[in-house]
């Protein structure tokens, strides 16, 4: 649904936004206006954000390998600088409508003590700072499965995901035994 924005115009917008940022008084944070740094990305035509604190890196989705016997919400594994990282498709995990990803999908690698995986983004929009005051508790329309993993929603409608909840959710951990299938 996002209208197509030519590259130069996008750049212009980014620059403008930065200029405004600077005009507002630079990086200094007033105590009541704490800022949250997020990486913003598109998924199923919606805008999502995730805090940078638990992001290790952004990596292109190259050489994805599917594995037999893994849950549907895991897309497969990739090699990131010599380490194998599993890729979670949040659309499947959240049960969002499946859409053909537009453009080149990227992987946002989240990592914490004892857990690491990448989440699939249809497109990375960029890193941005959001004043904490602009994040409000989730909207009543977002009560589904996602509600549990939400941190809030910005005034622009970007859904901020809770990286810690995602990383610590036991459902994310896959430990399957050889079972008898009928």
């Amino acid at each position: 649904m996002t209208p197509y924005v030519p590259e130069s115009k996008k750049t212009e917008e980014v620059l403008k936004a930065r200029a405004q940022q600077l005009a507002k008084g630079g990086q200094k944070e007033s105590p009541e206006q704490k800022r949250v740094r997020i990486v913003e990305f598109k998924m199923a035509n919606e805008s999502y954000g995730i805090e940078l604190d638990h992001m290790r890196m952004i990596h292109p989705l190259n050489n994805l390998t599917d594995l037999p016997g893994i849950p549907a919400f895991i897309k497969g594994i990739i090699n990131v600088r010599g380490k194998i990282v599993s890729i979670v498709d949040l659309k499947k995990f959240f049960d969002l409508a499946e859409q053909e990803p537009a453009g080149r999908p990227q992987v946002i690698i989240l990592s914490s003590e004892g857990m690491e995986f990448g989440i699939l983004a249809d497109r990375i929009i960029g890193i941005k700072e959001v004043p904490e005051g602009e994040i409000q508790a989730s909207l009543p329309t977002l009560t589904g499965i996602r509600a549990k993993y939400l941190k809030g929603i910005t005034t622009q409608g970007t859904v901020i995901l809770d990286a810690v909840k995602l990383l610590t959710d036991p459902k994310m951990c896959v430990e399957l035994e050889v079972i008898e299938k009928k």
């Binding site: 016997g69 849950p71 594994i77 010599g82 380490k83 194998i84 004892g114």
Partner: protein, 759 residues
């Protein structure tokens, strides 16, 4: 010719390097002569030590033994003084100066002058080595030796390990680095190996391009003798001149480009070889940096053994030998559980009660010894030795016969060693009581598995009343292993060679069916034959079977795999090649995936799963597979049935989805009745599985709506619910549901049975 060229280049590189190092040696030696303060001296000694060491390595790689030997001697002296922290005597400094000078002379020498320099170098080498030996015998060193002796006696087997100087050098300067950082380094070093393989592929491609150009050039060369005639003929047609010119310049261009490519390929080959060598060395060195001494593991063992012993009223001492020997951290982590198991067994089965021991005229206290040694550079031997009752071979044989693992005739023929190996068979336990600690008969099978996964081996020796020794051999570092690459339904998999009995082509006519299983006979032995795609739950790719059909090849590629004495033949689509690979784990999220042991990265950058043969064989044993029909190719692919799961709870929805998908259904989900109904209107499903209590539209309402809609009325509906009252059940049936499953009695087979009946 290439090798000669390379040798020449290497020598040139060595000369440059050697000159730099000799200069540095001169400079530092001169500084040392000034007798500086201890701190500066220490730093300088370190510099000269490193220079001599590096130069020695460089000389070795170009095979100049004179320099290597001389540097070895110099290094020895520096190392000794590095440790002793004393002043180098002036006489020795002179000799060292002379040594450095002679290396320089060697580099500059004309072929005629070389013998003379060589003689000088040999003299100096002798002189320095002698000086070192004298230095070694000084009283200080004597004392040091004495201190070392008890340890040396303990680890008599450990002799000839590391040259003394290296270990001392390592002791004198240590840095604490977090293991996480080391792991990071190791990963990077491993990545270089993939890069090396990628470069090799590029190189191969470049050679191919050169080859095709060469072929083209040859063609054009062939025309050259005819050129005068062609020119004459073309002369008559004036307009063809330009074509001729184009041809001639093309010919020249190709010749030039070909030469250029050949040169580049050669250069590439050389750099690649050097880079490859360096990458291998770097990995090797990094692996060494990741080694930990056994003591980090052993520390927790004696208290544990004591605790178990006390609980059983036994008295046991633990002796640890060779705990300073180092091994890869990962191996150490993974050997922990098998080792603990062996120790428990030793206390539980091995060591007798104090009274029994006294009767046998043994000391009341049992002794368990853990002896680590390093018989070879790359292997570590770990012995778990107890002085207990020994293994009761008769009991094992009786048990094996009882369990049908062994026939009574065979039992009589078994040698002692073969009887011991039965212990590793799961199900065998000689413990009369199933205690908490051991005796479940599974333990030893797991121990063996664990050790073999690490690339190690275990053997047993035992003597009645004298005790039992388990000998474990382990690699020092986790090495690369060889495996065969197969393709199945468009996926690639790697199978470790250790589990592959053979790879073969199976003739379709040889496939027989017995007791609802397909078998083939290999070496007069019947083997179960299954399709790897089925075992892994992969959908067969039509393209692949189409290909099979087209070629009309009646034989199927297959691999015979073995684990725990069970062999099974697996049909694959293609056996591609054998590769050397490094296994990596699947990351922290995928803790355990059936049938997959890990993954590896191929030279192409492709990530390939490594199969877990143990799981595969277990999977085959556990589930009676659909028999591979002798002619599976003509079998029409069955239409995949689709099911809509309507459920508002994520957990329940995921559960249902997984169960149904695992059974081969195509599953879509909806979050409530309304969503479900909309999806049904958009696309037909073979069945609906729905919850009852849901927001917006509940399961009863959904069922009614489906029944009322002419296009959907025939769709089977299964209600799965918490509501377990006769009234609700009735209401469900009234609404038109075909089946009603209560979650509390819910088990997957029940649901699957119901669905199979309905669709």
């Amino acid at each position: 010719m290439d090798d000669k060229e390379l040798q020449k280049q290497l020598l040139a590189a060595f000369r440059t390097e050697a000159r730099e190092r000799v200069q540095s040696l001169f400079a530092s030696l001169a500084e040392l002569e000034k007798n500086p303060d201890p701190e500066t001296r220490e730093r300088l000694i370190e510099v000269v030590f490193r220079e001599a060491h590096s130069l020695k390595g460089a000389a070795r790689s170009v095979n100049i033994q004179e320099i290597e030997a001389l540097c070895q001697a110099m290094e020895g002296i520096f190392s000794e003084f590095k440790r002793a922290k004393t002043v180098l005597p002036p006489r020795m400094l002179d000799e060292l100066h002379e040594a450095a000078r002679s290396i320089e002379n060697y580099l500059d020498a004309s072929p005629d002058g070389l013998p003379e320099v060589r003689t000088k170098m040999a003299q100096l080498t002798g002189l320095l080595s002698k000086a070192l030996a004298e230095d070694e015998n000084r009283p200080v060193s004597e004392k040091k030796k004495h201190q070392k002796e008890p340890a040396a006696r303990e680890t008599a087997v450990q002799q000839g390990l590391t040259p003394k100087f290296f270990s001392r050098a390592a002791l004198s300067e240590t840095v604490r680095i977090s293991t996480a950082k080391l792991d990071g380094l190791l990963l990077k070093a491993e990545e270089l190996i993939s890069l090396k393989q990628i470069l090799n592929q590029h190189l191969g491609r470049m050679r191919e391009i050169g080859g095709s150009l060469r072929a083209l050039k040859k063609q054009w060369d062939a025309i050259t003798p005819e050129m005068p005639d062609i020119k004459k003929a073309i002369h008559r047609h004036h307009f063809l001149h330009r074509f001729l010119e184009a041809f001639e310049s093309g010919h020249q261009q190709i010749t030039k480009t070909l030469r250029e490519i050949d040169d580049r390929v050669k250069g590439f080959e050389q750099s690649n070889r050097m880079l490859g060598g360096m990458a291998d060395e770097l990995l090797e060195e990094t692996k060494k940096a990741c080694l930990l001494p056994f003591s980090t593991l052993f520390a927790l063992l004696p208290p544990m053994v004591r605790e178990i012993a006390v609980a059983q009223g036994k008295e046991v001492d633990v002796e640890l030998v060779g705990e300073e020997i180092e091994i890869d951290k990962q191996i150490l982590d993974n050997i922990r559980d098998p080792l603990i198991h062996l120790l428990r067994n030793a206390v539980d089965h091995g060591i007798e009660n104090p009274q029994v021991r006294s009767q046998k005229q043994k000391s009341r206290r049992g002794l368990i010894r853990l002896i680590v040694s390093q018989p070879e550079h790359h292997t570590v031997e770990l012995k778990v030795q107890d002085d207990g009752a020994g293994i009761n071979t008769q009991a094992i044989v009786t048990e094996a016969v009882k369990q049908g693992i062994l026939s009574p005739e065979n039992a009589r023929r078994l040698k002692e060693r073969e009887i011991y190996s039965l212990i590793f068979h799961s199900g065998i336990s000689t413990s009369p009581v199933l205690s908490e600690i051991s005796g479940r008969g599974l333990g030893m099978a797991i121990v063996k598995d664990g050790i073999e996964t690490l690339g190690g081996s275990i053997s047993i020796d035992s003597a009645s009343d004298r005790g039992t020794v388990f000998t474990i051999h382990l690699p020092v570092t986790l090495a690369t292993f060889r495996g065969i690459l197969v393709s199945v339904s468009g996926h690639f998999f790697l199978i470790p060679n250790t589990y592959v009995v053979q790879a073969l082509k199976i003739n379709q006519d040889d496939i027989k069916t017995a007791e609802n299983r397909t078998i083939i006979t290999l070496a007069k032995r019947p083997l179960s034959l299954v399709d790897l795609a089925d075992t892994l739950g992969l959908q067969k790719k039509p393209a692949v079977s189409g290909q099979r059909k087209k070629t009309k090849n009646p034989s199927l590629p297959a691999v015979v795999l073995e684990h725990n004495h069970t062999q099974t033949a697996f049909i694959v689509d293609e056996i591609l090649n054998e590769q050397e690979v490094l296994v990596k784990n699947l990351g922290s999220q995928l803790k355990r995936i059936p049938n997959i042991a890990g993954a590896t990265v191929l030279g192409s950058g492709r990530v390939v799963p490594v199969l877990c043969v143990k799981d595969l064989i277990q999977s085959v044993v556990l589930k009676p597979l659909p028999a591979v029909a002798p002619e599976p190719l003509d079998r029409e692919a069955e239409k995949v049935k689709s099911i809509l799961v309507v459920e508002d709870s994520l957990t329940a929805r995921t559960l249902l989805k997984n169960i149904l998908e695992a059974s081969g259904y195509l599953v879509k989900t909806a979050v409530n009745g309304e969503d479900g109904f909309n999806q049904l209107k958009a696309k037909a499903f073979d069945a609906v599985v729905s919850d009852i209590e849901m927001p917006r539209m509940n399961g009863f309402e959904l069922t009614q709506k489906i029944r009322k809609d002419p296009s959907l009325a025939d769709t089977p509906v299964v209600l799965v619910t918490n509501l377990d009252s006769p009234v609700d059940r009735e209401r469900g049936i009234d609404a038109g549901a075909d089946a009603y499953i209560v979650k509390s009695h819910f088990d997957r087979s029940n649901l699957l049975e119901v669905i199979a009946r309905l669709v």
